[in-house]
Symmetry: C2
Subunit: 448 residues, 2 copies
Amino acid sequence: MSMTPDTSALSVPPLQERKPQRPQRVVIVGAGFGGLSVAKALGNSVLDVTVIDRRNHNLFQPLLYQVATAALSPADIAEPIRRTLGRYHNIKVMLAEVTGIDRVNHQVLLNQANPVPYDRLIIATGSEYNYFGHDEWRAFAPGLKTIHEARLIRQRLLLAFEKAELSRDPKEKKALLTSVVIGGGPTGVEMAGAIAELGRFMITRDFRKLAPEDFRVVLIEAGPKILAAFPDDLTDYAHAELEKLGVEVQTGRMVESITKDSVIASGETIFAGNILWGAGVKASPAFRWLGLDPKAGGRIPVGPDLRVEGTSDIYAIGDTALGLGEDGKPLPALAQVAKQQGEYLGRALRNELLEGRKPEPFRFRNRGNTAVIGRHAAIFDFGKRRLKGRVAWLLWAIVHVYLLVNFEKRLLVSIQWLWRYATRQRGARLIDENAGNIVPATTQRSET
Amino acid sequence: MSMTPDTSALSVPPLQERKPQRPQRVVIVGAGFGGLSVAKALGNSVLDVTVIDRRNHNLFQPLLYQVATAALSPADIAEPIRRTLGRYHNIKVMLAEVTGIDRVNHQVLLNQANPVPYDRLIIATGSEYNYFGHDEWRAFAPGLKTIHEARLIRQRLLLAFEKAELSRDPKEKKALLTSVVIGGGPTGVEMAGAIAELGRFMITRDFRKLAPEDFRVVLIEAGPKILAAFPDDLTDYAHAELEKLGVEVQTGRMVESITKDSVIASGETIFAGNILWGAGVKASPAFRWLGLDPKAGGRIPVGPDLRVEGTSDIYAIGDTALGLGEDGKPLPALAQVAKQQGEYLGRALRNELLEGRKPEPFRFRNRGNTAVIGRHAAIFDFGKRRLKGRVAWLLWAIVHVYLLVNFEKRLLVSIQWLWRYATRQRGARLIDENAGNIVPATTQRSET
């Protein structure tokens, strides 16, 4: 990785040569935290910006577990991309699937639409769950990356309870009331905690024939501790809080097999009505578009200006990029990294394309890492300072409401949270009519 | 229909014969407006009440069109049945599908669960859309009865706009931006009005390459006027308001054929990206469980005490029942009829089973019939008095917020409405990840 300015990148010819003068075309693939930050920073400039996403909405993934556990509605944490970017006259939005990049002719290839030419291309396609070579597990143990998956998990969870209520076989009943969460990262911990709270509430309030002692939530982590990215004191606290909620935390256990209704981990079989996957992510397959090796979990190596190594007009940001921090270690796959990289890149492109200025290298500023375990229990790691318990929980709630892009959503989520806080009720306990037919969306289509 | 009291119905034996004494079992099939009203009226009594529904939620259907047009989230207008009835210790809820009624052994037969015995059975299974012998149209022109269908319609509508934005073929573009609503009843009128408002808003605010003149909403009605149940002056007003919104109202036109992307009505072919069915309902197939003829649209004839004719322990209420008003005409298939019948029947059963008193015959009290066309435009028909315009619209909104069962939902819906009123934004413009694979749920399973 060289710190020398890469002058080949200045593809804008001197002013007198430009005829007819046309605006520089910036194409952004992916409208998550990273892609949207770039787009906003380029909004209402003379640049011709196109944002391409295969979904029409921007999803606030940190709260997706609340959709999966029936606390929020999908629309509470999702916003149409067109709406987010509607105020910028120079930004076009395309709902389309990228199939490749033609680096020779500088264009993005799309499924069922014409190629889109670019002068600068930003890849911000995020990450997906890594089943470590066992993609057949996906159907039985969905991850939590999309609204479809969140709904799927919600359906399965609620349906398992309904089936248990009807069952007269004590063994079956117990299995249906068992949830297994695989992976002790923040998503796994949040899911396990939320399921434990929801399940206990439903059993005591809504079901007549279910016994609290039949209800079981198991959190399986292969490593020696959960929440590996956090310091030990916070991890210990989270571990203890999960156990207070009734979650069985099993560390150091490897999952060997997953079927429709069971998990085998370190030789022990657990029958379960609901199995969830949160055991690690890999970058989106965008590296294939560039003909790169899938090393480092498919993340695309970038230089200090976030340019993809070996290219002059392509950048990668967020989970799909492999950038290095000041300590020389890879930056974590966190929303705040994506957002900061997006803001930086937007500024850098403006400076370079409009004013001909060279960018400073990107520097990540740690805003604090957080995870929530349950009511009144969360952890915050700000590097030097740490926070846990009721205050951390309150801060977590405030930060997340604040981060929700849109005012209406903020207000709606706040009200629902306050209501739930007071009543412990869950508002979005819906089972779809076609619950019997649900399959994970991801098994139905190709991997682009 | 005889007004003579039917003493055979008093199946409760004299007190001294009851040994061991067990509570009378009331089974309610269907948890819509009717079924829930009965259940609530029987709540916290000594009766043993079971509510069976194939869905886990109670749906506020009058606002379902707002889910289909991206104004509300499904969970805003749906509540888990267990939650609604959770406070009554004597009511059990079962998520199950009824397959038949064994009148000899007095039990309800279920799919994948044991039969449920009853002393009194209430059928409150509602209605479904009637495709008048063309059930193959259902896949192309979904009706609006379930959350799944509302989501399906929302997906198709939003996806058609996205495809139109990408299209370079002017003909295709125009077709994709055309919506055809079949049926000029309240649902059809509400859908046409809401689509017109949503489409115009999206084109002016969010899309760059769509022209307002390519956007078209066609409302097709076979009869001579829309909203046939309303007096002429209100119908004329609604017709004019729809045209102000840009809806083409075509009355006296018969639909002859529907394909994936076109409707042929009275010889003319309309190509459309979005086709909707609201052209008449028929009762649920519950009449088959009783071995009745599907006369009168499958509605089950009931006496003045809502007992199914020819039975002593089975009742039918709501859309699935054919009851007669004081004028000797069949009662309309309206939520208020179902609700009043449910409340009446609950009281009647309490009186009879607990106190041995005979019920008075049921009398329907018209609370006013309403339909909403769009912003500031609605109609009310109270029989003698009529209301239209801005005041009717405000009253419509107040009544509907009031009727939403639950406090949280009321508040959430009110806030979203106020926000939308101020901004004209739509909050729930979500296209699912698996949008390409969506099919109507109703084509995927049997008709029970």
